[in-house]
């Protein structure tokens, strides 16, 4: 009996264990590799992702399983999010390989840190207990802080890392403080026990609400929702683009899971209380994100503000407080990550040794330099603006219909008006690519793997926009089989 329980625990956490072991292998192996043979680390990392995906798929069952005395959960939601994380991380590595190689960051540490960061995300996705959730979050954050500072001779990166670290630590502190309040009020750290305690109405409400405020603030910081968005543009701008690509994409899956676990599985009874906070943050994020983005001349900063507005839309799904809403949020975050990967992938594509293609003007006349990549960027921009027939349209459509179903008519109208404001700055990129003459005439020569993956990434935006049903079903499956 005892043995069975331990075996189950190990199987449930097998992907995490595998990634942990491989991360250490990569770190060790890299010590013995010369600059010429370092591609072995890259391949090992990709193999790790493939292996983890294999393990996750083969241990998948359409039911919820708890492990380690309820601290850890293996449900369809965690499995599917983990698969998306592997895929996203793998794309991040493909896109950033030549970029980091040209900037002296092609070292074993890079791959090990990416794997450890991914391990943190996986733990967040599977966390069912305040401590596991917090541990995953910190593992992820610490890796990201170091990755941002990896280009250590670059003062801008160092500054960005410092800001990220200080503000991130503050947010973790708030989160921890809030968690301790909730612990004080309910006497439990495990999500299901907290939910049960709240359901029985045994908790002290004033302490609870105070704790909730801090938890929501901590979560909002990690998501980058207004008014906790200050770090985001600076970090996106300051970090090496390959790292921005990582910071901006896959960890959003973990943040999504974090919200689901904390607010919905743990604190569902307080829905009315956190709903109000999310409404305020959603409205502020959409307006400040979209309006400030118009004023940006740096593409990375523009995408950072665009992220803030996307987070606002994501919150629309959560604040609907229904299954429909959570499914639509998951769809939104999947679409968002795919678009972000493509967007930063394009910046990496145009960058070369000693040149960062991060200003808007660097995209001028792209249609004349390469109609194919201009077309992919066009798809990405229209998708971010939510124009059909792209994936971004259905992302907006699903969250808006969820919010409308919950009765938030005026909020939805406000959101669509802001979406029209947001369309302006995406259109500006299209304008630069198609209507202006190129300033930069360097040939675009990506490696074959990058060209292939970026092409698939861009076309996926169109194809999923024409046929979104599979992805919607996947999200519905994950949520419906994981939340009761």
């Amino acid at each position: 009996m005892m043995n069975n329980a331990i075996t189950y625990d190990l199987i449930a956490a097998l992907p995490e264990i595998f990634v942990l072991c491989m991360a250490m292998v990569v770190l060790l192996v890299s010590l013995f590799l010369s600059a010429r043979t370092l591609y072995v680390s890259y391949i090992l990392t990709q193999v790790t992702l493939l292996g983890a995906a294999f393990i996750t798929v083969s241990t998948h069952i359409p039911a919820v399983g708890y492990a380690f005395n309820g601290m850890f959960v293996d449900d369809p939601l965690s499995d599917i999010l983990k698969l998306m994380i592997y895929l996203g991380t793998s794309m991040v590595l493909v896109y950033s390989r030549s970029y980091i190689a040209l900037r002296g960051m092609y070292r074993g540490e890079f791959f090990a840190l990416v794997l450890f960061a991914m391990l943190g995300m996986m733990i967040m996705v599977s966390g069912q207990h305040f401590l596991t959730l917090y541990m995953g979050l910190e593992l992820l954050s610490l890796c990201l802080y170091s990755l941002v500072a990896l280009d250590r001779d670059n003062p801008r990166s160092t500054e960005a890392a410092m800001k990220y670290f200080v503000l991130g630590a503050l947010a973790s502190g708030m989160l921890l403080y809030g968690m301790s309040m909730i612990y004080g009020a309910t006497g439990a750290l495990e999500l299901s026990q907290i939910n049960a305690a709240l359901f029985n109405g045994m908790a002290d409400r004033s302490v609870l609400i105070l704790g909730l405020v801090f938890v929501v603030a901590g979560v909002a910081f990690k998501l980058g929702a207004v008014p906790f968005q200050m770090w985001l543009p600076d970090v996106y701008h300051g970090a090496p683009t390959a790292v921005t690509l990582l910071v901006g994409s896959v960890p959003k899956f973990a943040a999504f899971a974090f919200v689901i676990r904390l607010l919905i599985q743990g604190l569902q009874v307080l829905t009315v209380d956190w709903q109000g906070m999310l409404i305020v943050m959603a409205v502020l994020s959409i307006s400040i994100g979209n309006i400030t983005a118009i004023a940006q001349t740096n593409l990375k900063r523009m995408l950072a503000y665009s992220t803030i507005s996307h987070i606002g839309f994501l919150l629309f799904g959560f604040l609907s407080g229904s299954m429909n809403g959570y499914i639509s949020s998951m769809f939104y975050i999947s679409a968002y990550v795919l678009m972000t990967l493509g967007g930063f992938g394009m910046i990496l594509l145009l960058s070369r040794k000693g040149f960062e293609a991060e200003n808007l003007d660097d995209f001028k006349g792209l249609n004349q330099r390469s109609p194919w990549y201009a077309f992919l960027m066009l798809l990405l921009m229209f998708s971010m603006a939510g124009v059909p027939p792209t994936l971004g349209f259905y992302a907006k459509f699903t969250v808006l219909q969820a919010a409308l179903q919950a009765g938030f008519v005026s909020l939805v109208i406000f959101a669509v008006l802001m979406a029209a404001v947001g369309a302006f700055y995406y259109l500006r990129i299209v304008k630069l690519m198609y209507f202006d003459e190129p300033q930069d005439h360097a040939p675009i020569t990506p490696s074959p793997d990058m060209a292939l993956v970026l092409g698939i990434n861009g076309m996926a935006i169109l194809i999923l926009g024409l046929m979104p049903q599979r992805l919607m079903e996947l999200c519905a499956y994950a949520i419906a089989h994981s939340l009761q």
């Binding site: 124009v387 059909p388 109208i413 669509v416 302006f424 259109l427 304008k431 049903q469």
Partner: protein
């Protein structure tokens, strides 16, 4: 299989032809690209012909229907079908695409493949708008067609093209997004995105007013109605000739079609409730915008304002709620498609030679371009509503219908016969007649064969429908009757 998929073919043949043009496009040797595009547009026209020949004119409902599950999660279907209102507009679209491809033949030298592909793809998407019977499918086509138009104006347009195209896009997007909210609202009421289900859905007046307003925002911008028309003169002036033709001939009709397909039948009580304000807005467009047209110095701008004024007739005809007015509105839509397209092509002919659209730069063109002048005067007369041209039929029907409703509506609408003649003929006088204005005009070459064919075909259309409009009224009659019967029934529950 092809029997039942005529509509799908009508949509996807031009789109695939556009993709083929992009794939084989070569800017060094644009000859091949042009021929592929022309063949694609002819194929696109041919596949729409069965819609005319096989259409059952006694049936006012939807024909040629196709339905497949598309996104079952939200009960969204790929559901197509056309009635007597959509068929003439679809034929107009596929016909205009051929004209546009021919019109851009030598004129466009920069990125030929992208230009041709944009128009082919746009043609398919616009036919999709006319044949979609599912709200989301309609919305997808509606928005998607903005993308090629945005690029067409922005890449091949005039000096102020960026401002014009972004204004065009944002104006239309803003209107459409409210329509999306209305669709989602209706979905939550009926658990369906089928337009036919919306027709049957009872709705209280307050909700109907909200829905009507949301659709109004989308469609009034597109028509465009006064006071949301300001994007149109900019877009028209900056767009290349082909873009102006498609804008005037088809895109403006999408708005009026939207009123007939969505706003009025889904919210009939609101439509009746708001009929007077709508008529007033239409009359302002007819009269006030005609005066604005009178003051223009730029030929394209003048025709753009004239389009707004003529589209005022269409909305006037729709909101009088009688068969004559509504059919008159539809005839006016088709006729305006030919006439405005032809007028913009005439300006294009001049602009290609002189690179100016200013009326003041011309004078006495008849001396050097007699054949062209004959065509231009014909189209100008048609634009002014001369009997015997198609421009007369629609206006006359709408005025007749307006007399039955209210004398003053008819009186104000009829002033357009004077004002329209004033601004059009004054422009003709200043551009074509009088002494040769300057040395550039003296060197003008008359029409080449390609231009002659294009304008000749359009002239035949304008005269043909002017003398014998039955082919259009026959198609629309049963549908208009059915629509008016539907509109007469209140949808307010209880």
């Amino acid at each position: 299989m092809f029997e039942s998929n005529i509509l799908s073919l009508s949509i996807w043949v031009p789109v695939l032809a556009g993709i083929l043009v992009l794939a084989t496009g070569n800017d060094e040797r644009p000859g091949l690209t042009r021929w592929i595009a022309l063949l694609g547009s002819i194929a696109g026209f041919l596949v729409t012909l069965p819609l005319y020949t096989r259409f059952d004119r006694a049936d006012g409902g939807f024909q040629f229907q196709e339905g497949y599950n598309w996104i079952p999660s939200f009960n969204i279907h790929y559901h197509l079908g056309v009635d007597g209102l959509a068929v003439p507009l679809i034929l107009l679209t596929s016909f205009t695409t051929m004209i546009v491809v021919l019109a851009g033949w030598e004129v466009i030298q920069k990125r030929v493949a992208q230009y041709m592909a944009a128009f082919l793809i746009m043609s398919g998407l616009m036919i999709g708008v006319f044949s979609a019977l599912d709200g989301i499918l309609f919305y997808v086509f509606w928005e998607a067609m903005l993308i090629p138009m945005f690029l067409v104006i922005g890449i091949w347009g005039g000096p102020n093209r960026v401002y014009a195209t972004i204004k065009f896009f944002l104006y239309t997007l803003l209107g459409s997004l409210l329509m999306l909210v209305a669709f989602i609202y209706l979905f939550h009421q009926s658990n369906s995105f089928e337009i036919v289900d919306y027709y049957m859905l009872p709705l209280p007046l307050s909700v109907q007013l909200f829905i009507f307003f949301a659709f109004f925002m989308a469609f009034a911008v597109k028509i465009p109605m006064w006071p949301v028309h300001t994007w149109l003169p900019d877009a028209h002036v900056e767009a290349p000739t082909g873009g102006s033709v498609v804008l005037a001939a088809i895109m403006l009709k999408l708005g009026a079609y939207g009123f007939l397909r969505f706003a009025m039948p889904i919210a009939p009580d609101a439509a009746h409730y708001l009929a007077t304000p709508m008529i007033v807005l239409s009359l302002i467009a007819v009269v006030y915008i005609a005066f604005v047209a009178l003051a223009q110095q730029d030929m394209k701008k003048l025709i753009a304002y004239s389009s707004i004024s003529h589209m005022g007739f269409v909305t006037l005809g729709l909101f009088i709620f009688n068969p004559l007015g509504m059919e008159g509105g539809v005839v006016q839509m088709i006729s305006h498609g030919f006439i405005s397209g032809a007028m913009f092509l005439c300006v294009g002919v001049l602009y290609d030679r002189m690179h100016s659209r200013q009326i003041a730069d011309y004078g006495g063109v008849v001396n050097t371009m007699p054949t062209f002048t004959a065509f231009a005067v014909l189209f100008a007369m048609a634009n002014a509503g001369l009997p015997g041209t198609s421009g007369f039929v629609g206006e006359f029907m709408v005025i007749l219908a307006a007399v039955q409703e209210n004398f003053w509506y008819a009186f104000l609408a009829a002033t357009t016969l004077i004002l329209g003649a004033a601004y059009t003929l004054w422009m003709v006088k200043r551009v074509f007649f009088g002494a040769v204005g300057n040395s550039h005009v003296a060197e003008l070459q008359d029409l080449n064969k390609r231009e002659f064919v294009i304008l000749g075909v359009l002239a035949l259309m304008v005269l043909g429908f002017g003398l014998y409009p039955q082919p259009i009224t026959e198609l629309t009659h049963a549908t208009v009757e059915q629509l008016l019967t539907h509109l007469a029934q209140s949808k307010i529950p209880g």
